[in-house]
Each structure stands twice: as C-alpha cells, then as structure tokens.
C-alpha cells in the first residue's frame, strides 16, 4: 500500500505567508518612491555550470565578478515596486581543471596545453519587488525579474604534443531569455540614501555554435550564477 505524503507546508511558502502577514505593519514612511541602486560583487557559478569534469553539461565556470544597476519605482504604499535592471557578469573559465581533465584522459600521450577565455553576460531585465520586514531602518526586499541576456562563450583550445590540436571551440554570442530571483537587505542611512547586501540567483540557457568540430553543431549550456553584491541605493 502506498504511503501518503505528510501534509506539510513547504518552508518557502511558510516564509512567504509570514512575510505577507507582517506586510501591513511595515508601510514605509520615506517620501521618495523612486530609487537608483548600484551594486557590485562576486559572481559564483553553481550546478552543472560549475562542474569541472568532462560530463554532459559541464561549464567549467569559476567565480568572477558582476556589476548591476537598477532603477526602482515603488507604489503609493511603498510595499510593491517595479524595476528595470542592467547588469554585467564576468566568469573565469576553470583552466586548471580543464587542463587536468585532458591530462587525465591522455595520460602519457604527449603533453597537454589549453587556452581558455572567460564567460561574459550582459543582461537587461524588468521585474517587481516586495518590501517586507523593517527593523531599525533595515528592511528585507524580495525581487524577481525576467529579461534578455547577451552571452558570450569563450574561445577554447586544447593541444597535445602527440596528437596535435584535439579540440577547439570558437567564441560565440547568443541572446537568450533569462530570469533572476533574489533577496536584498537594505539599511537606510538617511531619508535619501541606503546601503544594501543582496543575493540573487540568475539562470539562462544560451545556445552556442561550435564551428570547429568535424560536425558543426549547436550546444546549450545551462548557465546558473549566484550574485552576491553590496551596493548603494539613492532615493529621489
């Protein structure tokens, strides 16, 4: 006989419910409803995109940096808002692991050397956000948005002294739909200025063409990046 799943509320839903319950208590008192937010920080790949072994969707991406600019407009009660965002992310390609994988495969067959670049992402997106709890001028903001991201795949080359050039992947561009979701902790310094710490998840699935292989083909990479930023918010 099949066991019935326990009737529990998923943790995220529970948190959302609690936050929604306390929302009315946190109507903000600031006068200005528009804000410009600038931030910068680390970009950390995760999931398959960060895998650094020869498996199906490995991205060999390693930690890089990102810059982000956001224009925000809040509603009358300053709880809900919409935003337009532009951001740039650079991720290093894990050259050391890439080389190690080839060395593992070719073992005693010649000496390997690899040439790699880095991943570039230029995004433009729009979304909405919700201001939640405020404690001592510090508030938590949830945000989510969608947009388009221009992705650039790095040039890759692997050369073996015995076999010659064993792999080349040319640099290629692709524009794809992307999505972001995150949480932001903002502390207001005065009526116009705030500082914030944010954590965002970014996802995108660009297609790239590989023209160098015998069978020219298109492949996709499941890009997954965490953005951990600090920044300034200016209300106006």
């Amino acid at each position: 006989m099949k066991k019935q799943a326990p009737n529990t509320i998923p943790p995220l839903l529970l948190i959302a419910l609690i936050l929604l319950c306390v929302l009315p208590l946190n109507a903000q008192e600031t006068v200005n409803r528009n804000a410009l937010s600038l931030s910068a920080g680390a970009a950390v790949p995760y999931a398959e995109f960060a895998n650094s072994s020869f498996t199906w969707r490995s991205g060999f991406a390693s930690t890089g940096m990102n810059l982000d600019a956001k224009l925000i407009h809040y509603g009358k009660r300053k709880i809900f808002g919409i935003y337009a965002d532009a951001g740039y992310t650079y991720l290093f390609f894990n050259e050391k692991q890439y080389l190690a994988e080839y060395e593992r495969i070719f073992e005693d067959e010649g000496t390997m050397s690899v040439t790699t670049g880095g991943y570039h992402f230029l995004k433009a997106e729009a979304g909405f956000l919700i201001r939640t709890i405020t404690i001592r001028d510090t508030r938590i903001i949830l945000q989510t948005g969608v947009g388009y991201t221009l992705c650039r795949h790095p040039y890759l080359s692997a050369v073996n002294t015995y076999w010659g050039t064993v792999n080349t992947v040319n640099s290629d561009l692709d524009m794809q739909l992307s999505g972001t979701a995150g949480i932001l902790v903002e502390h207001t310094l005065d009526e116009y200025t705030g500082i914030h710490l944010s954590w965002q998840l970014f996802a995108c699935k660009p297609d790239f063409r590989d023209r160098e292989s015998y069978r020219e083909h298109t492949f996709y990479l499941p890009v997954r990046i965490q953005h951990i930023n600090i920044g300034l918010t200016r209300y106006f």
Binding site: T55, D108, Y148, Y162, W163, Q176, S213, Y214, H217, Y220
Partner: protein, 371 residues
Amino acid sequence: MHTSGKILLLSLALSLATSCDQYRLNLDIAIVPREVTNFTDVNSTHDDFNSAGPFYAAGDAFNLVFSTNRNSNGADFDFDNYMCYINYDQVNISFDIWPDPWNYPLLDTINSMYNEWGPYLTDELLEYYYQDEALSDTGRFFFSSDREGNQDIYYCYYSPGGTVIPGQAPASVSSLNTEFEEGYLCLHPEAPTDKEMQAYQEATAYQETTANQEILIKQAAAPNTETCYFTSNRDGTFDIFKATGEANRRIETSGVLQITKVDLLSSSADDKCPYIVNNMMVFTSDRAGGQGGFDLWYSIYTDGNWSAPENFGPGINTEYDEYRPVIIPLEPGLFLNDMLIFSSNRPGGTGGFDLYYTGLNKRGETNASGT
C-alpha cells in the same frame, strides 16, 4: 491578453523552440586511444589471430575477419567474422568497440577441415559502392591454407552480398606458390606521384578530391600492373617477397610474375604477415632489436622505396609474441587516427593468442616512441 503578455509568451516559446539538445564537445574528432586493449568480446579460450579488415571503414562500423581454432576445439583454424561497432564519446572522451557475430556466407565456402590463415579482402567493391559506373562488381578474397599439404596462397571472387560467385570456388594462385610455405598476400596499389595525379586531374577536369574520388583517381592514374607482397620460406627463413603481375592482368590471373625478395624488409630471422594500407606496411618479425619473440614492425613507402623497418616499441610489443598486424583506416574527419589490430599470446588474455587493438598516430605518420 495585453500586448506585453503576448510578447512575453512569444519570447518564451521562441526561446524553447530554438534551444538545442547537443553538448559541447571536448574532442573535435574521435581518437582511438593508444592503450592496447583486448578484444574481449571477440576472443575465445582458443587461438584467435590473423585478422583482416576493410580498406576504408566508412562511418563507425567495420567487419573483422580472423582465423580461429575455436570452432574445431583446437583441431584446425577457420575464418570467423564479427561486425564491430565503434562507440566513441567526444564529451566524456571514451572509446569502445561492440563486436557482434555476423554471418559472412563467403566464409562457409572457404573454410575446410584444414587450416585457413591470413585473410585479405581487396577494395574493388569499395569502388562498386562509391562509384556510379563500377569498375568491378566482384571483390577478391585471398588467404592461405595447407589443404594441399604445405601452406599456399588461394583466392576466390565474391559478390557485394558476401557470397562466393557461383562456380568459382577457391583456387590456388599457382604462379606464386612453390613447394615451400607461402602466405599472407597483400596488394600494394602503386600510387601515382603528385605530378601524375595533377596531370590526370587537369586532363579529366576532376576537381573534387573527396576521399572516395581520390581513390578512384589514384587507381585510374596508376600503372596498369598489379603488385603484391607475401611471405615465403623458399630462401630458408620466412622473408617478405614482392610480386608484380603482367600488364592489364590481375595477380591471380597473371601467368608469369616477377618475384623478388625485398632485402630491406627481410632479415636472417622470420619476417611474416606484411599488410599495407596507403603508404604504410606493418609486419611481424622475430629479428634482433625487438622486445622479444615476434614483434610488430613498420615501414613507410616514399618515392618508390620502403624505409628501414622500425619497431613499434614497448607500448605495443612485449617479450611475448605479437603477430599479424592489420591497419583499419577509419574515416578521416570522423577519426583523428587509424586503428591497428594484432594478435598476441601475452598474459592477461582469454587464452592462447588473442586479438588486441590500439590507436596509431596521425594518418601517414607513425611514432613508435610516442614522443
């Protein structure tokens, strides 16, 4: 629905529709690894050796004919055949061969209660398959057998379906055979020089040079005599001999052959099993300078001459016997290199002589030391 909503949905649909399902490759083309691998699924506890393969393995499958005494429980050697499917992965970088027993009707006619060794299939049917106007609709199967006492070279004609042409049972290549042992015949198409090729191309307005057309051009521009190499002990030990047929006649139908011992390839020890693909001859010899027992050697044909034989080195040879090497030329562009199949009685096999495969260096080049 609002316009913005429609645009968003359309974007999502387009994004999904244009996404592909392929992977980023870590090899531009497949490579047969240099590691020597036992053909475990082909080998038996008896002796399995003396293989032959196709002269052009299109795609990723080829048929493998070899001698084995498994079917007679060790009494005599017969030919057996497997279809081999190459499984290569350019993402995870792996290489494997899946052999599958495959009934080759031709072999039922050839196999006897005596020994059959050294199979060799000619490439005439390659032209049949790849050419609009076939030069020939039959292939030739050469082999050696002791069915008449000593080991002699035989041939038979077969059709594209792999059956012996009716009324043409295996016959002796009488102009080659003597009272001594002869075996392991292989043809050597004398390739025209680059200058001859260019002149022929200009004369015939043949501008395309795909792999198949190149074969045809070479054949059309080549000399009208046929040349083969074989092994014989007519001079005491086993040596490598060259035979040239009469003009416009094939080896097996030439009444008189010009036969000469190839001194550069022969030694005072036993030199056997020559097998030629393109400009490379591989053979086995127990001459000095090897790793012990019979070793595999190779020689490159340049400007009408064979180079001094070189040992394949300890990566392939061992102190045990390595025997009957054959080159399987894999499709250029799909594979970076060719495959070498040979047999050995080294420890770790399934018993007796086993078949092994390994990757050779780039086409037309060989580097035994791997440096």
